[in-house]
Every structure is written in structure tokens, then in C-alpha cells.
Symmetry: C2
């Protein structure tokens, strides 16, 4: 043990770190490579970072007293974002406090093969005739005569004469657009790769693509490590603005995660990471600016203005990404401050702008993005749905990972389906939708969003439902799973507050949909199709989503189509096809950005949307 530093050992890993007295447990955990789940950004309000300490821990803070019961505190339960080290400590980290190892994240995307594989990066093996007395053409002219004109950057130009002579003028020219980015010894034509990244606020998904064949070789996903700086884009913008090093921290965090994912992908496919010549990034406007370390300040205040509109092509190395030294990163164009590259991707991947009739695209996430194609024009809006669908701000909410209840059905009695087939520890978004719809249908929840008390129930309510109405911390709640059946020995309940969050989230998207439809003078029934995008869409049940008003009513179920992860699909398309890249740029500029709050109908539509639909759609 070092002088003046205190040992903190984390379980179950057994890893010990030495820290100065006063260090927050969350920082000590960071030193032990444990990134605890921190949806609230470390403000002690979400209670997600709970740990159990033995040894000398600091006195519970007011936030901890609020978030934890007296028994829990007595048993050593603490919030890692609040508690400090004051002596040697043993810290047990329950799995629920860790970002899930296995997320149920949608990585597949439908119909995303580009019409033609025409990537910006191309390789060409050449055997040039070396200079001789009768042929003293400059090196670059010699190469241009074989592959056509190109630009070259200075560093490569400096190396090229030596490299050409070392390879006896035989090798593989690598071009990105009109630019020579490498000349590799031997024939490496078959090794030409790109990585497409869905830059989600919560989740990162990356796919390794073969630029020769267009095939996807591997895919991986992980939690966006920026979540430890805050759950939603606004808290990250705040972090970037308020901390002197905040923007760099956020940029580094995501770059490191992407670097690790590239490592995984290339290992898995057995290819060298220096053979990755291009990256494409599709995310919301803030995520894209944070990746590029462009001050997101103006995105955090009215009127929420992005820095760039068009897609940006920047050196990957300047983003801290370790692939080929002259690889480039294409960051998708954005439509507006809250309608970003991921929405452009959605429009591109679903060919929304070429649909045969009026079509709605809904991406359900922390920000719900809605795009309407009215048969001629595209309009897009974002709604502050809040993080309820991602499990945040819900008492027992969690992301769609092992232990999450992902489905709730009534089959004589209430039954739940748990990801990973383990005892449940929380509720994810799709279960929340199921529960909301179920409670509305059975009269346990009023359209105004109030949970009825047992004495207010109508006759004939199924007893298994009625008996689940209870008080939780003195407030009405619905018992989803009793303590004895859960993974952590505490009951999983849905509170009145949780239902308000759900009402807010569904209502925001409903309000946006209504305004876009009204502006185009369309009714829900005019919609040929409703497309569900995002990594979450595939797991929700259409009728339940309609029951709570999340999806428009009276649209036949076969017209509601899941599109998979359209953000990843767009990133993939723009990696494989320059044509797709040009389309993305056109989409971004062609799509009207609708500021919902400025619509004259907004107040009415918002008030209306805050009430759950009276009856089944």
C-alpha cells in the first residue's frame, strides 16, 4: 500500500485501487476500470449506481438518505456518485449498477444494400514499369498514368519515392475520392474495409464492412460511455460547457469506445485495423458534434443551432480514431438541432422520400424523431420524449439488457418475459408500453394517467390485477413482480410517477405526429405505412403502442413496419456508396425542419396528447 492512499477493493472483480481520502467511490471505480451506470450524471437522484460497502465509508449524504431506505443504508448500501472514501474499503458492485454486458440492441437493418457498391475508398493493384533511361516520368505521373489523376498529401508524397522503389513499383494504390491515401506493397485489393457506426446517445453499434463486396463482416455494440457524464444530450451539452475539459472528455470517451469496438470487429473478422480506410458516423446532432469535439453550446439553447449542416469528411486521426493513418471519417449531414444524421439515415435507409404514398417514420428514443413524407415533401420534427423508453427516470426502469422484463402479457394472470431468462431486476421500455396499455384496457389507469385505488375499480377487474394495486412509499403503485420472485429480493413496481413519465414520452411523440399530419392535411388513415426505426422499435407490440397513443390510431397493423436500426443502416449505406452519400446530403437539405413548439396548434395538440387515448384505436 502506498503512503497516504487508501485501498479500495471492488467485488466481484477483486481489483484494488489506491486513492486519496475524499475520493468519490465513482472515481475509485473508474480507476478499477468499472464504469458504473450513471443516468443522472452523478447527481444522486437516479439511484442507479448503488453499491454495498464494508469498511469506513462517508456519512450518507441527503441525496443518499432520499434515495435509499434506512435499512439499506444500515446494510452498507451507498450511491457511488455520493459516497467518499475515508478509510480502507471493500465495495460490492451489484450487476444492476453496471452497464449491461449484453444489451438487447438491434443491430440488424433491413433493405440496406445500396443499389451499387461504389465506395469512396478504392484499391487498385498496379505493376508499373520502373523508370529507365528512356522513361524518366515523375513517380506520381507514372502512377497516375495507371490509375488516373489524384491528389496526394504531403506525408505520403514524402514516403512514396522510397516505397515505390522498395516494391519495385508494384503494389496497391489506395484512393479515397480523388485522393491517394496509400501505396501498399503487394496486392492488398481484397483487404479494403470500412466501419459504420450508429452513434446513439445510449448505445453505440458498429459494423465492419468489406468495401470490395459490400458484405458486413462483423457487428458489435456497447453502451455509449458518455452516459457516465449524463443520460441525455442536454446534460452532456451542459458538461461540455461547464467543465474546462468537458468537451474533450466527451470526445475522448466516445473515441475510445469506438477504438475498442474497431479492435473487436477487426479481431473477430481477422483483418488488420490499418486496413480500415473509412468510418461513417450516424447519430443525433449533439452526438455527432461531440464526436467531432465541436462546441455543442448553441445546441443547448434556443433556437438549438447545429454547427454544420452538410456531412463532414474529416481525418479519422483528428477524432482520435486509430485505423489507417490517413483514413477519413464521414459524419452524416443533419437537418436541425434535434433532427440529426440518424434521422437522415432513417430517411435514406427506408427510401422514405421515394415512398408510394404518405408515410410516417418514427424513431422512438430519448428524443423521438418523426418524419412525414406526404407524397411529395419531407418534414421532420423532434420531440423531447424523455428517457422513459430507455428505462431512465422509471423507478425500476433499466435498459434492455439481462434481467430486464421486456414483455408483459395477461394470460389468466400477469406474466413477464425476462431478457436472458433470469429472475427479473427491472423494466425496460417495451414492458412499460405493455403495462401502460394493459392498465388502461383493464381500467386500472385513467386516460388522464391516474392509477386507480382498489376501491375505485369497476366491477369485474381481473383479481390478479386488482390485488397488485398497492402503495409504494405512500403513493399508488402497481406491483409487477413481488420481492420473492426478483433477482434482487426487492419488489418491482410501477409507480404513479412512472406512469406520468410514460404519458409524457408517448404524448410527446403523439403530439409531434399529430402536428406533422395536420400541417400536411393528412389523417392517420391516409398513411400508407408507419415505419418504426431505431434500435428499440422491433421489440414493441403494435396494438399496445397504439393503445397508449405512441403510434397513430386506426393504422392497420400490417402497415406498421419495423425497419430495424436505420441509423446504422444509413451509416452502412454511406460507407458503401458515394451515391448514397450524395442522397444523404440532398435529404438533409430537402427535409423541412419543423419546430413543433412554434406551430399554432402546438398548445392544443400537446394538451390533448397528454391524455391517453380514451379507447382502443
Amino acid at each position: 500500500m502506498r503512503e497516504a492512499e487508501l485501498p479500495v477493493t471492488f467485488q466481484p472483480s477483486g481489483k484494488t485501487v489506491y486513492v486519496l481520502a475524499g475520493t468519490k467511490l465513482i472515481e475509485a471505480a473508474g480507476g478499477a476500470d468499472l464504469a458504473l451506470d450513471l443516468p443522472c450524471g452523478g447527481e444522486g437522484v437516479c439511484g442507479k449506481c448503488r453499491v454495498v460497502v464494508s469498511g469506513k465509508a462517508s456519512k450518507p449524504t441527503p441525496a443518499e438518505i432520499e434515495a435509499l431506505s434506512a435499512e439499506e443504508i444500515e446494510a452498507g448500501c451507498r450511491l457511488a456518485c455520493q459516497s467518499s472514501v475515508i478509510g480502507p474499503l471493500n465495495v460490492e458492485v451489484p450487476p444492476t449498477s453496471l452497464p449491461a454486458a449484453r444489451h438487447k440492441i438491434l443491430v440488424e437493418a433491413k433493405e440496406t444494400a445500396p443499389a451499387v457498391v461504389d465506395p469512396a475508398v478504392r484499391k487498385r493493384y498496379v505493376e508499373l514499369s520502373p523508370p529507365d533511361r528512356g522513361d524518366d516520368d515523375p513517380d506520381l505521373i507514372r502512377l497516375e498514368n495507371a490509375i488516373g489523376p489524384f491528389d496526394v498529401d504531403l506525408q505520403l508524397l514524402r514516403e512514396l519515392p522510397g516505397r515505390l522503389r522498395k516494391t519495385n513499383f508494384r503494389g496497391t494504390a489506395v484512393r479515397a475520392d480523388g485522393r491517394l491515401i496509400d501505396f501498399e506493397p503487394g496486392n492488398t485489393q481484397s483487404e479494403c474495409f470500412a466501419v459504420a457506426v450508429d452513434l446513439g446517445t445510449t448505445t453505440l453499434v458498429a459494423a465492419l464492412l468489406d468495401l470490395g463486396t459490400g458484405n458486413e463482416l462483423a457487428v458489435t455494440s456497447r453502451l455509449n460511455p458518455q452516459t457516465s457524464f449524463g443520460d441525455d444530450v442536454l446534460s452532456r451539452i451542459l458538461h461540455a460547457r461547464q467543465e474546462p475539459d468537458g468537451l474533450d472528455q466527451l470526445g475522448r470517451a466516445v473515441a475510445q469506445a469506438v477504438n475498442e469496438m474497431i479492435g473487436e470487429l477487426t479481431r473477430q473478422a481477422g483483418v488488420g485495423r490499418e486496413r480500415v480506410y473509412e468510418l461513417t458516423f450516424s447519430g443525433n446532432t449533439t452526438m455527432q458534434q461531440l464526436l467531432c469535439r465541436v462546441d455543442p453550446g448553441p445546441l443547448g439553447e434556443v433556437p438549438f443551432v447545429p454547427a454544420a449542416g452538410r456531412g463532414q469528411l474529416v481525418p479519422a486521426a483528428d477524432l482520435g480514431l486509430h485505423v489507417h493513418p490517413r483514413a477519413r471519417a464521414y459524419v452524416l449531414p443533419v437537418i436541425g438541432g434535434f433532427v440529426g444524421g440518424d434521422t437522415v439515415s432513417g430517411i435514406l435507409a427506408t427510401s422514405l422520400g421515394e415512398a408510394e404514398g404518405p408515410t410516417l417514420l418514427v424513431d422512438i428514443g430519448t428524443n423521438g424523431e418523426i418524419v412525414l413524407f406526404d407524397g411529395a415533401k419531407l418534414s421532420a420534427a423532434s420531440t423531447a420524449a424523455g428517457p422513459a423508453f430507455e428505462g431512465a427516470r422509471i423507478s425500476h426502469g433499466m435498459r434492455g439488457s439481462t434481467g430486464a422484463i421486456e414483455k408483459v402479457v395477461l394470460d389468466g394472470r400477469l406474466r413477464v418475459n425476462v431478457i436472458g431468462n433470469v429472475p427479473p431486476v427491472g423494466l425496460c421500455g417495451s414492458a412499460l408500453i405493455d403495462l401502460g396499455a394493459l392498465l388502461l384496457r383493464h381500467g386500472l389507469l385513467t386516460p388522464q394517467g391516474r392509477l386507480r385505488t382498489p376501491d375505485q375499480l369497476a366491477e369485474g377487474v381481473m383479481p390478479d390485477l386488482a390485488r397488485r394495486l398497492m402503495l409504494h412509499r405512500g403513493k399508488p403503485a402497481f406491483l409487477v413482480v413481488p420481492a420473492e420472485e426478483t433477482g434482487h429480493g426487492r419488489p418491482i413496481v410501477l409507480t404513479q410517477g412512472d406512469l406520468r413519465e410514460l404519458q409524457l414520452a408517448a404524448g410527446a411523440i403523439r403530439c409531434g405526429t399529430q402536428i406533422l399530419l395536420r400541417r400536411a392535411a393528412l389523417e392517420p388513415t391516409d398513411l400508407e405505412n408507419v415505419l418504426i426505426g431505431g434500435g428499440f422499435g422491433n421489440f414493441i407490440r403494435r396494438s399496445n403502442a397504439q393503445r397508449i397513443g405512441l403510434l397513430p390510431p386506426r393504422v392497420e397493423h400490417h402497415r406498421i413496419r419495423y425497419q430495424g436500426n436505420t441509423s446504422l443502416a444509413g451509416a452502412r449505406l454511406t460507407a458503401l456508396s458515394q451515391q448514397a452519400r450524395r442522397q444523404a446530403e440532398q435529404i438533409a437539405r430537402r427535409t423541412e425542419h419543423v419546430d413543433l413548439s412554434r406551430d399554432p396548434d402546438f398548445a392544443a395538440a400537446f394538451a390533448e396528447a397528454m391524455i391517453f387515448p380514451e379507447e382502443e384505436a
Copy 2:
């Protein structure tokens, strides 16, 4: 005085440096900011770096014994490249050992105003409407709507949102080609500058240009500091190849000199150096590659292959140049290994490719470049003229700076004209041509290049000439100025060896001219014009140059036209005009590069050219 280090004081500056025993005087001089003239690259053969020491100097080396007389050595005379420090020392540096402070360098150029001033760099002052609730366009789209589409690099994009808001969306957009390189507060439209550089082997010339008006604001020149690594391109290529840090040393040396010149120019014109957004460089192929630090190795061996053919546009910062942080440097395209950007400049500046009839362009320098326009096609060749015309390898040769005899005429007796009107210290190239022609005309020199002895002279030779024939170190020589009239008290003579060098230099250019003419089936009399380019051309006398065979015979004098510094003119044109830049690229690819040594007539033409013309042209 520091321990273990020895003081060396240089006079007349009085500057003292402390060096370890064994340090060469040339290095100690470097420490005192004295760049001694080192045409031979420090091999002790040219004798140009002589100094006079008092104190403990090392024993004369064999090279010093060869180069200096016993009396000189006795008097403390040493070569700085040979002599080492063994004790405290006082070192007197004669002005003749220093690169001349005032070179007689041609900086003007004729007819070089571009048809249109259409520089790659443009400024535009804009007042954008700031975002408000009804207008949330991205920052860059807002700017693009005002000035048209552009690319932007990541670093500027990162700064732009803050900068736009700080200036309340008013400022000056700076674009280079299609790229935004800055957004400056206020209206800076009138401050948009470029620097055009003639990158000579011996001399650097730089001009500051106003990109708004096309006007030249200031011009400056100085010795290329690379001369301390060797006098000609081959010795510098050797240095770059053999020294581990050699290429960087050469690159740094020229970058530092250019930086200092930019400092001078901007101070002189009273403009900020950060307002210089573009630089253009015109030099021979090796000079351009050394500037860019591109391995010149292949330029040093058959078949002398350049790295790049087309012009290169690179970040000025990557060349170590300090101007605007995102300024670019355009390095002119080259035709071949020894026909570089300076020749392209010559063709561009003289509009040679659009001449009305057959025209020859001759650039007399260390490498003589010859370009023939036969009325339809351009062909170019380089000749190893050697450095005689720059005063090197000539016993009393020197560059065209203060103290140099620049003109020799016969006016009853031999008269000389000295630059700076001081007692002469040496001969520069134009005087060498005068003397060669004069000696031929008066029968003191045979066409074979042999200096006659007094007894071999024909009757009627002017007595003032005849009595100047003498022996110098046992070999025939011609006394130009007796010891008592020179600045250093030693006679200035022209030796048999010097005349051989002149014969070689003139013959090389003559041979090249003859071959180009023969290939085009032209006679000298078919030439409409003979254009003389380079910084040296303006100071030579046509008839004398024709008498020694340097310029083609039988061309009327009014057809021989001086073009001034065409290399600088080309650099200037390509800074002011994108059209000129495109023309330069076309010229470089359109001009046939003729390898003289591969011509079937070469052996015969060379042998013939080595004989001075029998009689007056």
C-alpha cells in the same frame, strides 16, 4: 567562461561563442550566426571560407596547404571548414567569405500581370442574420447561403460556432479554392496577401502580393542558406541521402530563410503575416523537393526521376512556414528531374507556348535550362552548365555582389566595372563572359580554349592585353586587375583552368540548344526570338555571349530579349491567378522533356560545342 569550453570571438562583429575543443571553425561561426560562404560544401577545395585567426588554431590540413600560400598560412589564414578550435581564438572574417549582403539579383520581371486577377484565396465580408426562433439553420448553412458552398476543416469547424457568436455573425470569410480557411472579425477584405518565392539554388527571391489588387507590395532576396550544405543540387542531394538528418536540415534551412523574408516583406509593407494566406514556390525540381522534404534520392541517379509531376498544394505549416495557420503552399509542377517549376514559370511568364514563331528560352544558371517552342510543340532540356556563371569553380570568381567585377570592356585599355563602386575583389559571371569573348576576339585565347603565351601572339595585339598574359602558380593566366588596385591586395587573374570552366559552361548550353534546334529541324536564323530568363540574364552582353557560343549565332540582337526573373514571375502569376495555375499544369505535361545524353547527335554536338566559335557570329 564556461568550463571545458573555449571562447571564439569573431570579428568584425565581436560576437563570442563558447565551443568544445575540436569544433570546426565553420560550426563555431554558425553559433555566432555567421553563415560563411561554402560553395564546395565544406570539402576544403573552393577556398571561399578563408578566415584569419589569432590564438591557438589547429595545424593546417593538407587541403589548407593546397588552397593557401605558405605566407597566408603564416599570417594566420585558414579555411573555416578545415580548421578546428584547440584554444581560445580570435577570428577575423573577411567580407569576401560572407554571403554578400547586397546581391545584384534581378527581382523585376516583365509582362507578368495575369490577364485576370483571380486568386485561389478570396475574402468576403458578410453580415449574417443571427439564428432566432424562426430560423434555426446550421451555422455553416447560414454562411453558405451568403457565400456559396465550401468545405471546412475540422479545427476551424470547432472554433466557428463560438467565433460567429462572438462577432454577432458579422465578419470576413476567407476561402481558398472551395475551402473555408477562416472567418475573421470585422471587415478584413482589403488585407488578403500572398507571397511568391523564386526558390533558386543560390538565391531566394520573395515578393509580397496584394491578392485584391494584384499589386506587388514588397520584394526581397537573400542567399539560399542551403549553399552551406553544398553549392549545387547534386551535393545537396548527397547531403540529404548521407546525413541521417540531412533532408530535414536542408528543409529547415530554406523554411527559416523564407520565414525571415516573409517577416521582412510584411514589416516593410506594414501588414500582418497572418494575413498571408498563400505561398507559391518556383524552383528547380530538387529545390522544390527539398522544400517539401521529399527524398531527392532518385533525382541524384540515372534517370533522375522527380517524385511529383503536377503542382502540389500543401499546408504551409507542414513546410515549417509561419503565416496564416491554414495557409497553403503551391509548389509548381515540374517537367523532369532537371527541368523544374522554374522552367514551367519561364514558359508561363513569357507565354512561350503561344509565341508567334519559333522561339528559344534560355535560363543561364548552375543548370542551364533551354526550352524551344518550334511553333507548335514545346521541348525542354537541361544542361550541366556548372556553377561558373555564378562565380564558383573560378579562381577569383564570386557572385554578383558588392566588389564583383560585373563588366569588362576594352577602351584603349582594359576597364572594369565593379558592383558597389568599390575596389574589386573578384569576377562574377557576366565579366567572365566579357573576358572570354574579349580574349577570343583579340587572339589571346584559341577556339580550343587554350590561352596563348606572349610569344604565340599574333602581331598587333593591343599592348595592354599582351602584357597581362602571365603565369599564375606556374600556369598561363590573364591578369584582370593588378594587386595594387584590388580590395584585398591580391591580383585578380583569369586562369587557363577558369577558361576551361567557361568553355564547359557555355558549351553545355550551346550543345543543348543545338540538339533542340536539330530535333525541330530549325536553324538559329529561324528563331523569331531568343528569350533570356533567370536572375542573371539582364547583365550579360549579347554579342559577347554569342562570341563564346552561349547564345546561338546569327540571331539579330533585337531578337534577343531579356525576360527578367521568370521564375519569380511564374510564382507571382500562379499566386494571383487560378487560370495561370491551370496553364502551368498544362505546360508541365505538354512540354517534352528531352534527355540530351540520349540523343544520337549528342556525342558529336558535345564535342563540337566544346570548341569556342571560330569567329564572330
